[in-house]
Amino acid sequence: MAEDTDEWTLPERLSPADRLAAEALIVDVDGFEGPLDLLLTLGRTQKVDLRRVSVLQLAEQYLTFVQRAQALRIELAADYLVMAAWLAFLKSRLLLPPDPTDEGPSAEELAAHLAFQLERLAAMREAAASLMARDQLGRDFFARGLPEDVTRARKVTYSATLLDLMRAYARIRTKDEFRPFVMDRDHVFTMEQALDRMRGLIGYAGDWADLTSFLPEGWGATPMRRRSSTAAHFAAVLELVKRGQIVLRQGETFAPIQIKRRDG
């Protein structure tokens, strides 16, 4: 691969005009639909039939483009870089004498395929353009505007489109993956639960004790669980105060809340 890296630093054989064109392309990078689209544009600057496009020259133009983009710190999508690596490889293969022990397709075959791809893409674009240039229904020619319903032999037909069908199936099959919008009970301590616990515990609260010391084990570990259990227990305590079973006090705002069994 040493030769490959050398290739990258070889003096570019680009004319000033090509360089300017490459710079213009860089500004426009978002306008391209992928590396092949860019290559097609580059190929067109050679002003020859796409079948006779110089793949070597094309590779150089493309690599220059990628280098410039990197120099200008333009973030290129991965597929542009993959194409760059492949073209660098192809370029080195095209420049070096063929290795007779080399298996697989020759550099010329690979180059010919690239030229074919470009030609095919160009052809499809032209086909798309001539398709869209055709007379179109509802724009250039028209259907009967007043379809007749002469006799009212009412017959109900039910319709559904393939898209409806596929969406329905997608809906069913992904149902399991949806989580309905419900609280995650694993991390929620309810007031009922807290009330049950506290009822059993207040017998031991003969003296003032911090509410936090009544929190269940394992519920102080994560903030979410701590908050949920604290809130539940606080609500439970308020309920118990209301029932006259305990008293509660707080020294000042944000100070610990303390509770005590109400005697008598």
């Binding site: 505007g145 007749e148 032999a153 559904a160 069908l165 329905a168 997608a170």
Partner: protein, 212 residues
Amino acid sequence: MTGGAEQSLFEAPPMGEQERMVEAILFASAEPVTVAELAGRMPHGCDPAEALAYLRKRYEGRGVTLARVGDAWAFRTAPDLGHLMRKETVEQRKLSRAAIETLAIVAYHQPVTRAEIEEIRGVAVSRGTIDQLLELDWIRLGRRRMTPGRPVTFVVTEQFLDHFGLESARDLPGLKELRAAGLLDNRPLPGSMRDGPEEDESPSGQSELFED
């Protein structure tokens, strides 16, 4: 522009052309068209009334005729051929969600029993839903399943394939393909992102509600 050129600009098209124009306008219009309206839509200098007279003559005795509706004109089926038009009056109704879901399950899982449909949908299938699909000729009975109780199975019909433009039920896209086509992203249900392709950008589940 010289006066002469302007003159020719405003010269009306030949009557044959005007007749074609009236024919096309009346055909494509969703409502009967008045002579004044025709004149407004045709090039300057045209005589739609005369063109209409020619056109009316041309359609005399044909399968459709030019009919006068108030002071407007429209094509109408020849009265003696009304009996051919009976099929034109069909009322289209959308299939219910239960029916389309049941149909989808039959299509994807055939042959499938009623119990299996219910298991997949997670909800009981009403008698009427199956009946409706049977009546539409979109599903039919398949072979009985060789399991206890020998339940009947359902399969889709030729009519089903025809209606949905499929060559065979095997051509229905799988879940992965549905997703690739973007069909799984159209329902912004809460929590539906979990398995979606945009996983990375959206936090999963509702746990983040409680996170700090």
